[in-house]
């Protein structure tokens, strides 16, 4: 187990492990033997390895759902639900600002400076960004575009949606936690039968 020490530490700290955040660790986690080893090790801590539907991201969940665990899950879930709209709006904003024809996926790179430059001269993008920055998930108090953007990206980094490979360089890589977010949305949509379509043909019919 010693070889997985750093990985266990990251998992215990609540990190999401994907191909982007730690390729080696991710490869290890994809092996069934490692999964068993880690689950065995985590058993006394009431933790187990959990992944999303297509196994693109791994994180820790509770092994046994006692009262404390459920309380923690409830508050975690409330946070997740609260962050859905700001995150979705951010995804849309980035897609539109950068002129991309598809949504952000794990591994995509965003240059902060480019994002600021493209937003700067566009009044409507600026307004949307400033509204988004003041959302309580991002919680920016600033009026300055530059610091609003920085605050947004800092919060996304804290929440594990973005990875900043060099502390001094302002470029970010989207992590696999975005896949998790999409899975959560899809799950809620399916479970609650929300009228939210994701196939173009049906949209065209509407």
């Amino acid at each position: 187990m010693l070889q997985h020490g750093p990985l266990l530490e990251r998992l215990l700290a609540g990190d999401f492990i994907c191909k982007i955040t730690d390729e080696d660790a991710y490869r290890h986690l994809s092996l069934e033997q490692t999964q068993q080893d880690i689950n065995h090790y985590l058993r006394p801590l009431n933790r187990r390895l959990v992944s999303n539907d297509d196994h693109s991201v791994y994180f820790l969940g509770y092994h046994e759902l006692n009262k404390d665990a459920r309380e923690q899950l409830s508050s975690q879930f409330a946070l997740t639900v609260q962050s859905l709209l700001p995150l979705l709006e951010w995804l849309q904003l980035v897609q539109e600002t950068m002129g991309r024809d598809s949504a952000l996926t794990a591994g995509d790179t965003i240059k902060l400076q480019e994002f600021v430059l493209r937003t700067e001269d566009n009044q409507s993008l600026r307004q949307r960004l400033s509204q988004l920055a003041s959302d309580r998930f991002f919680n920016s108090q600033s009026e300055q575009l530059d610091s609003q953007v920085k605050q947004i990206f800092r919060r996304l980094k804290e929440h594990g949606y973005l990875l900043q490979p060099h502390a001094e360089r302002q470029y970010y890589i989207v992590t696999g936690k975005i896949d998790y977010l999409i899975d959560v949305i899809r799950f809620i949509r399916d479970e609650e039968h929300l009228p939210v379509e994701d196939t173009p043909t049906q949209e065209a019919l509407l």
């Binding site: 215990l12 994180f59 459920r70 995804l91 996926t105 949509r189 994701d198």
Partner: protein, 414 residues
């Protein structure tokens, strides 16, 4: 007769072909511009040049009303040369080529039978060209498909267009594969029976080329299907994001079911609280003593500064009583306000008139003392900013001790 004739036509063909190819080179810039614009700017050419280009079947007028344009075959040639996937065409017609090959084989055999060896030679030459054309046709198509695949269909901008282009490429690919199926090697073996040249050309050479084309096509097909799946996934993801965001905006109070308290918590929402493992050196472990000792030695050494025990008057120490301390602080604040007023006003300000004006309750003597004390306490450069004027008078006619009646502070220009 026949060889002479063909030599004549071929020399004629040669001169006309060379002349017309030269036309392409002579007007290359204008023609390329025409390719990009979709029509020809007639003012860029002289009357004679236009006539020549039309006669050479390089330009044509599709309709009376339309401007001149490049002939489709010329456009196709350029598209293939510059790998312009928007305009490049794939020719999947195998049946026609096969028919030509059959005819040429027949003509070749007839000529051989008649003993007309020069004609046979010529026919064999044409047959070789047809076989190469057939193989080249697949090669060109495969090159175009790979090119499109490797650029992720980057020549169209929107995802919808990419999906449409991918579907078009898959249809072309199916036609190519169908075309390959038309090639029946038992037939080709029969055709080439008893002739080494034909067997080499039609069987061993063509077969190995076509089988490599076949496997290339299958690989391209696999990749196209994968890419299409990726495109579709991206498309559905974009739509999901847009539609869910719209839904949440329309229903700001929306709250999903309480998944964490279901009997079966969905794995997605089973996200445990973080644990941060801490560790320290084990003091009971003898083998770690060395490490511990090194760590301790590496700690920055604290050198105690011995302060001389100076006897000094300590004003605040006397003020043990909280009330007195508070009063002292209030007095200090009022004096500071006085100095601030001096700065604001700019002119001379008398301490006692300020005291009266502000209706402060301090004893006038204490007030003056505090103002002097504050003045003395200022740093040297700040002290220079203020000028202190004492209003003094002798204690009595016989005592020349000067008593301070009032103090005026004024701001001094730096």
């Amino acid at each position: 007769m026949a060889p002479l004739d063909s030599a004549n036509t071929s020399s004629n063909l040669f001169s006309i072909g060379a002349e017309r190819l030269a036309l392409l080179g002579k007007h290359h810039k204008q023609l390329m511009q025409g390719y990009l614009d979709g029509f020809i700017d007639e003012s860029a050419f002289s009357e004679g040049a236009l006539k020549k280009l039309i006669a050479a079947r390089i330009l044509w007028r599709p309709d009376e009303q339309q401007p001149l344009a490049l002939r489709p075959l010329v456009s196709e040639l350029i598209a293939s040369m510059v790998a312009d996937e928007n305009r490049r065409q794939i020719n999947a017609d195998v049946a026609e080529k096969l028919e030509q090959i059959r005819n040429r084989v027949q003509a070749y055999r007839d000529a051989q039978y008649k003993g007309d060896y020069s004609v046979a030679e010529l026919q064999l030459q044409r047959l070789t060209e047809h076989v190469h054309d057939l193989s080249g046709q697949f090669e060109e198509a495969i090159d175009s498909l790979w090119h499109r695949l490797n650029s992720d269909f980057g020549f169209v901008s929107s995802l919808d267009d990419k999906i449409r282009e991918n579907e078009r490429a898959q249809k072309q690919l199916r036609r190519l594969l169908d075309g390959l199926d038309l090639l029946d090697f038992t037939e080709l073996i029969e055709l080439s029976e008893g002739n080494n040249h034909l067997r080499k050309l039609l069987v061993s050479q063509l077969q190995s080329q076509l089988s490599s084309h076949h496997s290339s096509l299958l690989e391209v097909q696999k990749r196209l299907v994968e890419l299409l799946a990726k495109f579709r996934q991206q498309q559905s993801r974009s739509l999901l994001i847009a539609n869910m965001a719209a839904f949440l905006r329309q229903h700001p109070k929306y709250q999903p079911a309480d998944y964490p308290n279901r009997s079966e918590v969905p794995t997605l929402f089973n996200q445990a609280a973080s644990i941060k493992p801490h560790a320290a050196i084990a003091l009971d472990n003898a083998s770690e003593r060395q490490t511990l000792a090194e760590l301790v030695r590496a700690l920055p050494r604290h050198t105690p500064v011995t302060l001389l025990d100076t006897q000094s008057a300590n004003f605040s120490a006397l003020l043990q009583d909280e009330e007195i301390a508070a009063r002292q602080q209030a007095l200090k604040t009022d004096v500071e306000n006085f100095y601030l007023r001096v700065i604001d006003q700019g002119g001379k300000l008398s301490a006692l008139s300020y005291l009266e004006q502000q209706a402060l309750t301090w004893d006038s003597e204490i007030w003056l003392y505090q103002i002097i004390a504050e003045y003395q306490a200022l740093p040297v450069d700040e002290k220079a900013m203020f000028a202190m004027l004492r209003e003094e008078a002798p204690a009595s006619d016989f005592n020349s001790l000067l008593l301070i009646r009032d103090i005026s502070i004024s701001l001094q220009a730096a």
